[in-house]
Symmetry: C2
Subunit: 221 residues, 2 copies
C-alpha cells in the first residue's frame, strides 16, 4: 500500500497534493501524518492540498494536522502549510476586484447613462460599470457590461435597445480598499465608441438608459 499522499514538487521547494478520489478520513489522517514527516526530512517548504468540494469530509483532518485555508473557489478549497521553522513565504491570496466604467460618447457629445435596478442608488443616472469576470480582459469586459446594462428586458416588449460599443482606451484608473469582503478594487475608466445609437425605452422604474448632454454632471453619482 502507498504510504504517502501522491504529491508533485513545485518550483519553490514545496509539494502539491491534489486529492481527487474519496478517501476514508482515518486513512487520510494516517497518510497525511506520514507524508508530512517525510516531506520535512526531505527539506520541503510549502505544502498545498487541493480538496474538491465533494471531499469536504477531509477538511477537518487537514486543519487538525496544522493546515490553514489559503483560498477557495465554489468547487474547491486550497489548504496550505509551511514546514520549516522560518516565516512562510507562500504567496498571498488575490487582493483585488477589477471594475470597469464606460464613457460612451456619441457624435453629438452625449454620454450614455443608465439607472441601476438594484442597490441603494436606483434614482441615480450613471455610466455603465461592472466587475470583470475571472480571466476577462479589460477591453472585453467593458464592452460586455455596456451591452448587458443597455439590453436587459424586464417586461415583455419593453426591451431597451442594446448598445454595442468599441473600446478606445483606458483614460484613468483608481484604487479603493475594503470594497467587499475586505478586498480592494481597481477601477478602469474606459473611453468607448458606440456602434449603435438607438435607445427606445426610458422607463424610470426599470433599468433605463439614455443619451445625456455632458453638461450638468452634478446629476451623476
Amino acid at each position: 500500500m502507498e504510504m504517502q499522499l501522491p504529491a508533485k514538487e513545485d518550483l519553490y521547494g514545496g509539494v502539491v497534493v491534489e486529492m481527487k478520489e474519496n478517501m476514508d478520513p482515518d486513512v487520510f489522517h494516517a497518510l497525511l501524518k506520514t507524508s508530512k514527516l517525510q516531506w520535512k526530512l526531505q527539506g520541503k517548504k510549502g505544502v498545498w492540498i487541493k480538496l474538491p468540494i465533494n471531499l469536504v469530509n477531509l477538511v477537518e483532518t487537514a486543519i487538525k494536522e496544522g493546515f490553514w485555508y489559503h483560498h477557495a473557489e465554489p468547487k474547491f478549497l486550497m489548504l496550505a502549510d509551511w514546514l520549516p521553522e522560518t516565516t512562510s513565504t507562500l504567496p498571498g491570496n488575490a487582493t483585488h476586484i477589477a471594475r470597469v466604467g464606460a464613457i460612451v460618447l456619441n457624435d453629438k457629445q452625449e454620454i450614455l447613462v443608465v439607472q441601476e435596478k438594484l442597490g441603494g442608488k436606483t434614482e441615480v443616472w450613471k455610466i455603465s460599470t461592472g466587475i470583470l469576470k475571472q480571466g476577462e480582459d479589460i477591453h472585453v469586459g467593458v464592452v460586455r457590461e455596456v451591452k448587458e446594462e443597455t439590453g436587459v428586458s424586464f417586461k415583455p416588449l419593453l426591451c431597451i435597445s442594446i448598445i454595442d460599443t468599441e473600446f478606445v482606451e483606458v483614460r484613468a484608473f483608481s484604487q479603493e480598499h475594503d470594497v467587499f469582503f475586505g478586498k480592494s478594487e481597481v477601477l478602469f475608466l474606459c473611453m468607448m465608441r458606440p456602434l449603435s445609437f438607438d435607445i427606445q425605452i426610458q422607463e424610470t422604474e426599470i433599468k433605463a438608459a439614455k443619451w445625456h448632454k455632458e453638461h450638468g454632471i452634478n446629476e451623476f453619482d
Copy 2:
C-alpha cells in the same frame, strides 16, 4: 432555545451568519435546516456563513445542506447559498493580484536594477517589482518594495544600502491572466525619484542592486 441561527440582513435581500462560538455539529445541522426553511419563506436570497478556522467541524454539515465555498482567508472560510429558484447574483471572489514595478532614475539618468535571490531568473538584472499586500496603496507598496529589495542583508556586514524613493506617477499598467492559482494580475509601472543613492555592495551571488545606464535594455527581463 433559539430555533434559528443568528443572522443579520444584508442590503441585497440576503442574510449573513457569522459563527463565533463552537456548536455541536448536530445542533448546527438542526438549526441550519430550520433557518433555511424560514429564510426561504421570508423570500431571502443569498445566505452567507462565515466560519472561523476553529469551527472547521461545522464545514461538512453546511456543505451537505447545499452551501458551497465562496472564498477563504487563512483564518476563516466563507460559505454561500442562493435560496430562490433563479440564477445566483452573488458577487464573485477577488480576481486579481496587483503588482508594482519601480522605475527609479537618478540625475545621471541611471536606472536602479536588482537581481532576485529566488526563482528561475536569478541572473537577470531587473527593476524592483513586488505584489501589493491586501489593503495597500500602489504608491505605498512600490516604495516598500524598492526599500525591501535594496536593503536585505544576507551575510553579516554585507547589507546592501537601502534605497529610499518617492512615488512620482504610474506611467503604465498591464493585465495578465492565470498568473497563479488561476488569478489575473494587474501590473502598475511607477516612476520613482530616489531619495538616497549610495549602493555599496554588488554581490552577484546574493541579491544585488546597482545603478545602470539606460542603454542596452536587452539586458533586462
